[in-house]
């Protein structure tokens, strides 16, 4: 029994210890908090004077009413942000959840307008000069505005831009930092505080120049330089090593990792919002920058495509023939004091919207059909639908016979009834896609690409597809035929032979399982049937998403697969996917004519000409069919129309995914 007593004693000691620790924070609480209300934005100044008896920082909130109109814009998000560090946010942590919270914090010289995706100036004062040759370099001069300021009051200058570019180029950062592409950009020179001169050692096209460097984020040099300098020194010490060696890569990665871990607390904002607080796993908050330089900017869009921007101070900028019908007119805010992003799961978010707990749900893929159905009867909730900026597609492996034969691909395309697939089978949860540029990207979208069997009946499709195959020299032991007797069905083809007489081998179609994406899984099962009807033996393998990636990008042992892409605004991805031996060209499509078109497109600097070239590229791809484009999903957004109002809701990729909740434009319902 002796041991028992010892244990009791030990237990008592533990309790004393616990009480001691539990008491500790009380001494820490002895600081004085001064809360200064400044135009509705609470700024907390913490001071530590001599210990006082019982400091009572008022527990606000409980008694205060939940922010009135115009105070807080409450957004439900489905996932937490992962970093505050801008260096990491543009590389490994690039996600909608990070950009939504502080994507507008870092200015850029130019950008795409939120509504129509027009090319408009950000902190630039006017259009950039044309690219011209100057010695070994291609140069371009960009005038910057002199009234743009960081949130701490210091001006945003060409120095900031030059420094940002230099740092990215030196450390050779990847991810979205690739916009400062070292293969083209040499450096940026700050001619004076408000004039930047870009030096390219290789002539850049639209993708590298207008849609690249000119739109890249600019960081605050004064804040970051002292923090980054030691890392640059470390890098200088290893810069002479062989850049391909493992040792160098490991050392470089260590430096970059330190960069990503730098503490960004106190970083001034160069946009409409500045970071306010982050309660990990629960919510994050940004608050409005009162001195935001674009506040009150009035944008007028004309039906003929022209655009006019007018600032309160009288400054104006625009393009096109600014007359005729005005298609949209809106004024930039911010009109709220802060934005709070609370984390919910998809179902709880919808309940929160219905309960008035949040004003808007931000989802990367839009709301699902059932969710829209649920809120559609609710008069307090409005919904909007926009096409997604992406597409689901089916890809072929050109190393597998007979998939390298254009006739086979066209015949399969002919068999796939996209209207049936999207309207009947997927119940309108999807929109058919015929070209690589999604319809929502209206400037680059080619509406007239060739279609093979559009609008035909199942019978006509089969007969046309069989005809195509026959013309190409394919034969069957038993040809696929249309059978009227059973109310119209297909008697499958059997023993299909290639033109050289050898039998068509068994094919495998990889598609994500129903758990990951029911739409693609269902499409996969149907396409399997259609391919089999032709007599091409095909088995759909519904599998884990990662397994498909691994087979396709890792092993190369595959025949066909169904996946999707979310794409960028500038359609150079069409070339990235299919250029001979390009990294994403996993199907080994190779066409010298196409490569030539891409070379031209990559090098083009004129928007109009680039558009014509892109149209031709789209036509080629729609004929050659290295991908068969299947469908895209509509992006549904829902918001509380009792609390918030948007100046426009038609926006490519939706209010949430495309506009991050339109934080700069949303207004409170009065």
């Amino acid at each position: 029994m002796l041991s028992k007593k010892w244990l009791v004693l030990a237990g008592l000691l533990v309790v004393v210890g616990i009480l001691f620790t539990a008491c500790q924070p009380k001494t820490v609480v002895e600081t004085v908090v001064v809360t200064v209300e400044k135009e509705g934005t609470p700024i907390v100044i913490t001071a530590t004077p001599a210990p006082t008896e019982e400091a009572t920082p008022e527990p606000t909130g409980e008694t205060e009413k939940v922010g009135g109109p115009g105070d807080v814009y409450r957004i439900a998000v489905l996932s937490d942000m992962t970093t505050q560090n801008v260096w990491a946010a543009y590389d490994p942590d690039a996600s909608i959840w990070n950009y939504a919270v502080y994507g507008s914090k870092w200015p850029s010289a130019y950008g795409l307008s939120t509504h129509r995706w027009d090319f408009v100036p950000g902190i630039a004062a006017d259009n950039p000069s044309d690219l011209e040759q100057e010695g070994d370099f291609w140069v371009c001069t960009v005038p910057l505005r002199d009234d743009v300021k960081w949130s701490d009051g210091t001006p945003i200058t060409a120095e900031d831009w030059a420094w940002t570019a230099q740092t990215v180029l030196t450390l050779d950062l990847s991810g979205n930092w690739e916009a400062y592409d070292g293969d083209y950009l040499d450096h940026i020179e700050a001619v004076d505080a408000h004039t930047a001169k870009l030096y390219y050692h290789t002539k850049p096209g639209l993708a590298r120049h207008q849609y690249g460097v000119l739109m890249s984020p600019i960081l605050n040099k004064a804040f970051w330089e002292p923090k980054v300098a030691p890392l640059l020194d470390e890098y200088a010490a290893i810069a002479d090593m062989d850049h391909d060696s493992d040792d160098f890569q490991a050392k470089r990665e260590a430096i970059v990792q330190k960069l990503y871990q730098l503490d960004p607390t106190g970083e001034p904002s160069g946009g409409a919002w500045q970071f306010s607080q982050w309660e990990k796993g629960a919510y994050s908050e940004i608050s409005a920058v009162d001195s935001y330089y674009d506040k009150g900017l009035k944008v007028t869009e004309y039906a003929n495509g022209a655009l006019k921007e007018a600032w309160p101070g009288g400054r104006e900028w625009g393009f096109g023939d600014q007359s005729g019908d005005v298609s949209a007119e809106y004024t930039e805010g911010p009109w709220f004091n802060s934005v709070v992003f609370s984390i919910y799961n998809a179902d709880a978010a919808l309940l929160a919207l219905e309960a008035g707990e949040v004003d808007f749900i931000l989802t990367p893929n839009g709301l699902s059909r059932g969710q829209v159905d649920q809120v559609s009867g609710n008069p307090g909730i409005s919904t909007a639908q926009n096409p997604a900026n992406g597409f689901r597609y089916m890809a072929f492996n050109f190393n597998v016979k007979p998939l390298d034969d254009i006739a086979v691909r066209q015949a399969i395309d002919c068999m796939i009834d996209k209207t049936f697939l999207t309207q009947n089978l997927l119940q309108g949860a999807a929109i058919p896609v015929n070209t690589i540029v999604p319809e929502g990207n209206s400037y680059w979208y080619n509406p007239n690409v060739p279609l093979f069997c559009d609008g035909l009946s199942a019978k006509d499709r089969l007969e046309k597809a069989v005809g195509m195959l026959k013309d190409a020299g394919y034969t069957w032991d038993k040809e696929p035929t249309w059978n009227e007797s059973r109310g119209g069905s297909v008697d499958w083809g059997e023993g299909m032979k290639m033109p050289d007489g050898s039998p068509v081998p068994q094919m495998e179609l990889l598609a994500p399982s129903a758990g990951y994406d029911p739409l693609r899984a269902t499409a996969g099962v149907y396409i399997e049937q259609w391919i089999n009807q032709l007599g091409i033996p095909c088995k759909a393998n519904l599998t884990n998403f990662n397994n498909i990636l691994d087979a396709v990008f890792g092993g190369g042992d595959w025949d066909m697969y169904i996946l999707g892409w979310g794409v960028s605004a500038f359609p150079d991805y069409a070339c990235d996917f299919f250029y001979t031996d390009a990294g994403f060209n996993v199907g080994h499509y190779s066409n010298p004519t196409f490569d030539k078109m891409c070379d031209e497109f990559y090098a083009e600097t004129d928007m109009e000409k680039a558009r014509d070239e892109s149209f031709k590229i789209q036509e080629t791809l729609a004929t050659e069919l290295p991908y068969i484009y299947l469908f895209t999903t509509p992006m549904w957004d829902a918001w509380d129309n009792n609390t918030v109002i948007y100046p426009f809701t038609d926006i490519n990729d939706g209010i949430g995914s495309g506009g991050y909740g339109l934080q700069n434009y949303v207004q409170a319902v009065q």
């Binding site: 041991s3 028992k4 009791v8 237990g11 008592l12 533990v14 309790v15 616990i18 009480l19 539990a22 924070p25 609480v29 600081t31 004085v32 908090v33 913490t46 920082p57 527990p59 606000t60 909130g61 922010g67 409450r74 937490d80 992962t82 970093t83 490994p92 990847s174 991810g175 979205n176 690739e178 890569q249 990792q257 990503y260 607390t265 306010s276 607080q277 982050w278 309660e279 990990k280 796993g281 629960a282 908050e285 709070v340 609370s342 984390i343 919910y344 179902d347 709880a348 309940l351 309960a355 990662n546 397994n547 990636l549 691994d550 990008f553 892409w565 794409v567 991805y573 990294g583 994403f584």
Partner: protein, 391 residues
């Protein structure tokens, strides 16, 4: 006793080693790796992916990776999360462990108390409507499809009745205005409050245990009265203390958010404890000393609560401690539905994103926790059960 504990510790270290090796084998054998995520972004060139693979050491021989994994585990360096690159895994765990612990300790205790009392009553009233009714209800809830059940709880009590919050663990609109002075920057406000809530609960519990220990020799009625008064005092002091400090409202906000998950977990899980108690009770009732007690003419209630239930408590309690890690399993479902960012949700997200270091870290934590639970169970057993003596 000391020798026994040492022996158990040794065994546990071996088990831990086996466990870690098993984890490593499983996670290395899987297809694909983190850089797969880069494949879906057309803006990232494939060279970058290769470079990342090299930098992360994914191309090293398996044995090298294994050695590194062990070395790191021993030194407490669990690596850097891929999905939240480059946040250290240990930081993510530190942030989320308190939330899970608070919720699930509370849920486990409530569930245990409910299950035990019902099981006790069940064993005594056999064959009646009460037995079959509560067995069927309990088992139905035990096997109900938990994700949907939890969602319906939110739907009914949160969305329709507006009694309780819709998931999450705090109200942002309330918390955003409150500033906790003196809090170190590395902590979040919620964790600051959570940790203090945990300490209070632990302290209150230990004090209660000591009180119970010292009142054990009092007579039946007197003891019950003393214990009741002491319990009320302990509760009053801890709640009163919280009401007085400035972070009291925050703690109350968290508590409100905890009610629904706790109720859900209790409803879903109490049947397990209930049936286990019933079974051990029934076995105990056959023991000679119970028959003797009854033969002596002691009141049935006394026999039940004092003789039978106390002996049944021991195995049930051990079962409870051992089941602690599986609480994490239940946690995955509950945390997902209630948007509660604890260990379960972290594991699920890390897994689907193939964030291997985070998966490893989370599972290792679960492993260590469960081994500790085993040790505690063993020692408690040795300490409480007079029939077992360890030399």
């Amino acid at each position: 006793m000391g020798k026994y504990i040492l022996q158990r510790l040794g065994q546990i270290l071996v088990t831990l080693f086996v466990f870690q090796t098993l984890l490593f084998v499983i996670l290395t054998a899987m297809p694909g790796d983190v850089t797969n995520r880069m494949l879906t972004n057309p803006d990232i060139p494939p060279e970058v992916r290769e470079r990342t693979r090299q930098a992360l050491g994914l191309d090293d021989p398996v044995l090298v990776q294994y050695g590194r994994w062990f070395q790191n585990f021993i030194t407490g360096n669990l690596g850097v999360s891929y999905s939240e690159y480059p946040t250290p895994v240990i930081e993510i765990l530190e942030e989320r462990i308190p939330r899970t612990m608070v919720l699930f300790l509370a849920a486990t205790i409530v569930q245990f108390v409910v299950g035990f009392s019902m099981g006790r009553a069940l064993a005594w009233q056999r064959g009646g409507f009460f037995e079959y009714g509560s067995t069927i209800v309990g088992v139905t809830l035990y096997t109900v499809f938990t994700p949907w059940f939890a969602l319906m709880m939110i739907f009914i009590f949160g969305a329709r009745l507006h009694w309780l919050p819709l998931g999450k663990f705090l109200t942002p609109i309330l918390w955003r205005k409150v500033d906790i002075p003196g809090m170190s920057d590395s902590l979040t406000k919620a964790n600051y409050v959570f940790t203090r809530m945990l300490w209070t609960a632990t302290a209150a519990f230990v004090i209660w245990l000591i009180m119970a220990y010292f009142t054990r020799n009092l007579s039946h009625t007197k003891r019950n009265r003393t214990r009741l008064i002491a319990t009320v005092i302990i509760l009053a002091v801890s709640i009163g203390g919280w009401a007085m400090v400035d972070i009291g409202p925050l703690a109350w906000d968290i508590t409100k958010h905890m009610i629904l998950p706790i109720v859900t977990l209790t409803l879903v899980g109490f049947a397990g404890t209930m049936l286990m108690t019933r079974q051990t009770m029934l076995e105990t009732l056959r023991e000679d000393y119970i028959q003797t007690a009854r033969a002596k003419g002691l009141p049935e209630k006394l026999v039940r609560d004092k003789h039978a239930a106390r002996n049944a408590l021991l195995p049930v309690f051990t079962g409870l401690i051992i089941s602690l890690p599986s609480v994490i399993s239940g946690g995955i479902i509950t945390e997902t539905v209630f948007s509660w960012p604890g260990m379960g949700l972290t594991l699920l997200n890390a897994t689907t994103q193939e964030d291997i270091p985070l998966v490893m870290g989370t599972l290792s934590f679960i492993g260590v926790l469960s081994l500790l639970a085993h040790l505690v169970a063993d020692i408690t057993y040795a300490f409480l059960d007079p029939r077992i003596r360890y030399s």
